[in-house]
Structures are given as structure tokens and as C-alpha cells.
């Protein structure tokens, strides 16, 4: 169950991260410009003019993003974009149209539209303001599918960020002939940070992994998993202690036959590792089931992409951790088993 919880929670937070990565990748964003201390990043919107004047930059687009309660049960990422944002390009409008600049209008991702039971033409109340739903779109990322997009100005007022933005999303001009992608990125980053001291130019994929929402999701997932894994470790330790107790005589016989203490210890540790591995495999199934459930319920469907399943990395990590938990939990029983006197052990009833 501990591994199941780990897979579900870490899978959940990884889905969140993958969603961000897809978001940037599909839109073609190369760099995010944020505050150096980027928790609750807040950048003056006026920096946009400086950025757009840089020769390395094709376009720098201001954006505000925040997590909001849409209903008491459903929360979603809400974006504020200019009405001509390049990030509209990959979105497929399924109903209605784009919003008009600074109007009290929003667009809903198709998944959120379905969860809320709302369509173009309906209204949506956010933080005491009534917005007209003017369009429903389909995006390439689970985050967009469960998101709200509104005019930048409206979002700034809603968030109390007048004149401020969360970040600038930057598309770079093509690299110079002979310049590698890495050199191109470094040159652009250096130019931005020189032009705007105090701001940080982060490659989009790095920003996807390090933005405060993803970092927080990872921290909660790992923290909660750690508690679940501790409980699992205690369970394995108890099982192994019982196993050693029940097989005391067998251990005595092995010792009488010349088995060294370390060999007995290794045997018990290998069994504990095996127990951890089996638990890990069962946990993967439980975790996969947990992610399917999260992908199916409206509150979390916008973050988890059920189709993406469990990443190979998460599976390897989960199995590695389950084996490690088994070994750690087996140390005390293994030590006790190895310390048994052969004579006393063989007398054990």
C-alpha cells in the first residue's frame, strides 16, 4: 500500500510536471522570464518592452497564472493572456470564439467544460465577478484541458496584480548559423538577464519542472509517500521478525552446517528485499489504479492525464524504493537471526 500511495502521489505530481512541459512545448515557448526568487513570481509588465527590443527575442508575452477554486469541489489553473497570445495557436476552438481583450470573458478547456457542465454562452462566477464563457477549446496538455483562460487585464485585477505578471513567455529568433541549441539558449539568457537585472531567464523545460506549483506538488507527494513507506517498512520488519522467529530452528541448522553469520544475514535480507519487490509490484498495480481514479474524477482530472499512465522512471524508482525499504526493514531481523547460537536455535520449539 505504501508503494501504491507513492506511485499514485508521485505519478500525480509527475503528471502535473509533464503537463507543464507539454504546455510549453506545444506553444513553442523557449524561455520563461521570472523573478530570481520565483516563489510567487511577480514581474513588472513594463519589462515586456525591454524584452521585445532585444535582438535575440522574437516575441515576449506577459502572462498571469494561478490556481483558483472554480466551485467548492473543482479547482483549476486560470491563465491571463493577451488576446493575441502566440499560445492560442495550438488550441483548437471547439465551441464559440476567442475572448476579446479586457472583456469579462473566459474560455474553458474541454475537460473543465465537461466537469462543470458548462458550454459557450453560459456564465462563470470567479471571485465575485461574472464572466461570459465565450469558447471551449481542446489543448494538447491535460493542464490546458482543465484550465480557464481569460484576458490578461481581467486576470490581473482578479489576482490583485495590476501592472504585474507572473512571467513572460519568450519565443526566440532562430539560432545563428553554426550555433548549437545550447549556445543559442545561453546567449539569449545572458542577454535577458543583462537587460533586466533582478529577473531570471529560465529555459522553458526547466521552468516546467521548477515552478512553485510543481515543486509544491512534488514535495507533498514525497512527504506523504515517505509516511506511507515508513508504515510499509514497519510492516515488512514485523513480517521478517515473525519469519525469523518461526524459522529459528532452520537458521540453527544452517549455522550447524557451517553457514556463516553474514550468509544467514544475507539470506534474510534477500528475502526481505524479495518481499519489498513483490510489495512494489503490487503497489505499482494499486498506484496505476489510483491514477486512473484521479484521472476520472473532476477535481483532479485537469492535472492527471490517465492516458500517460505511470512513467518508466517512476516505476523504476518505486521498485528501487520498495526493495530498499525491504532491505532496511530486514536489517534488524537479519541481525537477530545471524546472532542466534546454533544450539539455542535448534532447541527452539
Amino acid at each position: 500500500m505504501g508503494i501504491g500511495a507513492f506511485v499514485t502521489l508521485v505519478g500525480f505530481s509527475r503528471s502535473f510536471e509533464v503537463g507543464w512541459e507539454k504546455l510549453y512545448e506545444i506553444a513553442g515557448t523557449d524561455i520563461a522570464v521570472i523573478q530570481k526568487t520565483f516563489m510567487n513570481s511577480s514581474v513588472d509588465q513594463s519589462a515586456g518592452a525591454t524584452l521585445n527590443a532585444l535582438p535575440e527575442i522574437e516575441t515576449a508575452e506577459p502572462m498571469v497564472v494561478n490556481m483558483m477554486d472554480i466551485t467548492p469541489e473543482i479547482n483549476a489553473l486560470v491563465y491571463g493572456w493577451p488576446d493575441d497570445a502566440y499560445e492560442f495557436a495550438p488550441l483548437k476552438i471547439q465551441q464559440g470564439r476567442r475572448f476579446q481583450d479586457d472583456a469579462a470573458e473566459v474560455m474553458l478547456g474541454d475537460l473543465l467544460s465537461e466537469s462543470l457542465g458548462k458550454k459557450a454562452g453560459d456564465t462563470l462566477d470567479l471571485q465575485g465577478t461574472t464572466f461570459q464563457i465565450v469558447g471551449v477549446f481542446h489543448g494538447g496538455s491535460a493542464l490546458e484541458a482543465g484550465a480557464v483562460i481569460m484576458p490578461l487585464g481581467q486576470m490581473q485585477r482578479l489576482s490583485g496584480m495590476d501592472g504585474k505578471v507572473t512571467a513572460f513567455h519568450v519565443r526566440l529568433k532562430p539560432a545563428k548559423p553554426g550555433e548549437s541549441a545550447e549556445e543559442h539558449m545561453h546567449r539569449a539568457q545572458a542577454a535577458i538577464e543583462k537587460a533586466l537585472p533582478g529577473l531570471k531567464a529560465v529555459p522553458a523545460m526547466e521552468r516546467a519542472s521548477n515552478n512553485q506549483l510543481v515543486v509544491l506538488a512534488h514535495a507533498v507527494a514525497w512527504g506523504t509517500s515517505a509516511i506511507a513507506l515508513l508504515v510499509a517498512a514497519l510492516g515488512i520488519a514485523n513480517t521478517m521478525a515473525m519469519s525469523v522467529f518461526e524459522r529459528t530452528r532452520e537458521i540453527g541448522v544452517l549455522r550447524a552446517l557451517g553457514w556463516r553469520r553474514r550468509r544467514v544475514m544475507l539470506l534474510i535480507l534477500m528475502e526481505a528485499a524479495g518481499l519489498g519487490l513483490v510489495g512494489g509490484l503490487v503497489g505499482l498495480l494499486v498506484g496505476w489504479g489510483g491514477l486512473q481514479v484521479l484521472a476520472a474524477i473532476p477535481q483532479t482530472a485537469g492535472i492527471v492525464s490517465g492516458a500517460s499512465g505511470i512513467a518508466w522512471g517512476t516505476m523504476v524508482e518505486a521498485l528501487g524504493i520498495s526493495i530498499l525499504v525491504g532491505v532496511v526493514a530486514g536489517i534488524a531481523p537479519a541481525y537477530r537471526g545471524a546472532r542466534l547460537s546454533p544450539v539455542e536455535a535448534m532447541r527452539h520449539e
Binding site: R249, E250, V253, L254, R255, A256, L257, G258, W259, R260, R261, R262, R263, S341, P342, V343, M346
Partner: protein, 220 residues
Amino acid sequence: MSEMLLDVRQARKRYEDGQIQALDGVDLTIAAGEFITISGPSGSGKSTLLHLLGGLDTPTSGDVLFRGRNIGTEIDLDSYRATHVGFIFQAFYLLPSLTAMENVQVPWLGGGDAPRGREETARDLLCELGLEQRLRQYPSQLSAGERQRVAIARSLANHPDILLADEPTGNLDSANTAKIMEILKGIQQRRGMTLIIVTHEDEIANSAPRHIRMRDGRIL
């Protein structure tokens, strides 16, 4: 004259915080290739003496020497048991989840050097003891006499110098008792091994060239 193999000098063994004196100043020398039986009433110390000779335990005071070297200080107990001693127990102590073939190979899995072709060696040992039809059987599928023969094969796996048997016929009927004793004597004679049997049966005790009687932790 045969080589001196084991030398017990003033061995004492106390248990339970010194409340029980299991051995009380035992002196004993055993030559290589001897066949010895040890008998005595319950609590006489015969099994304790066998444990000291087999390196399963160490004396509270006194010494047990193997070829002149102290077991436990000069010779590592695990190595001694793995290399020089084969044990046979009254309750057989076969591992129930392993076949006869696998049980015979257990001593080789304990960290020492496993011989090449250990499966062949295990098969040869079991065949030598008349178990060629029982190689893949589990202990629960064997008779008591067959289980003890598997245990004897296991005790021979590492080609030990000494075979120690603690009441090896205690769980057997008279027909199987006779067969097991015949096997043990045959092994001792063919291989020139030292065979020490602890028993409470007079017939077995008197069948050895040398019979040691014990009482109250002392050799009579």
C-alpha cells in the same frame, strides 16, 4: 599410532547464569578414524560434549583442540563446522521446502567453496545411500529412515574429518535403526572418518570399539 584429532582438556560448561553445570571438567582424547559412542542418562552432558566437539558451542572454561589448535580461538567456529564436521540429528532437520538433492547441497551454499559439479556429487552421495529413486522427493514424501539417510548424505557433503551423530536412530524403528547403524559404520570404515555417536540405546553404545559413559557432566 593414529593421529590425535580431538583433545578436550578440563572442559566445563555452565548454562543459565551458572545455575546448571552441564560439563564438569571433562578430559578426552580422540584419534583420527576412531568410532566412539557416548551414552548416559538425560542431563549427563553427552549432547553438550558433542556440541563442543562439533564447534556448535564453546566451553565456559577449559579447551577443545582440533589437531592441536584451539577451536573458537585459533580456529573459527564457522569454518571448523563447514570444513571438518558433519552433523546428524535425531530429528533429521531437513529443510522441508527443498528436495533430497537440494538438501544435500545446503552446506555448500553457506559461504564456502562449492565443489564443481555439486549436483553430481549430491547425486552420488544419495545413490551411495540407496536413495537413487528419491532424488527429487521432498522430506514430507520420504519415510523416517529415508530422511535420515538424506541427512547422512548432507553430513558427508563437505567430506568432513568427523561425523557427529546425536541420537541418530532416536526416531526410527528397529529395522531402520539397524540399517542406519550399518550405513554409519560402513561410511566410517570406508572413509576412515572419526565417528562419534551419542545414544541412550545400549545396543548401539556397545557396538563401538570405544564406549564412553557419562553422568552429572563427567566421564565415568
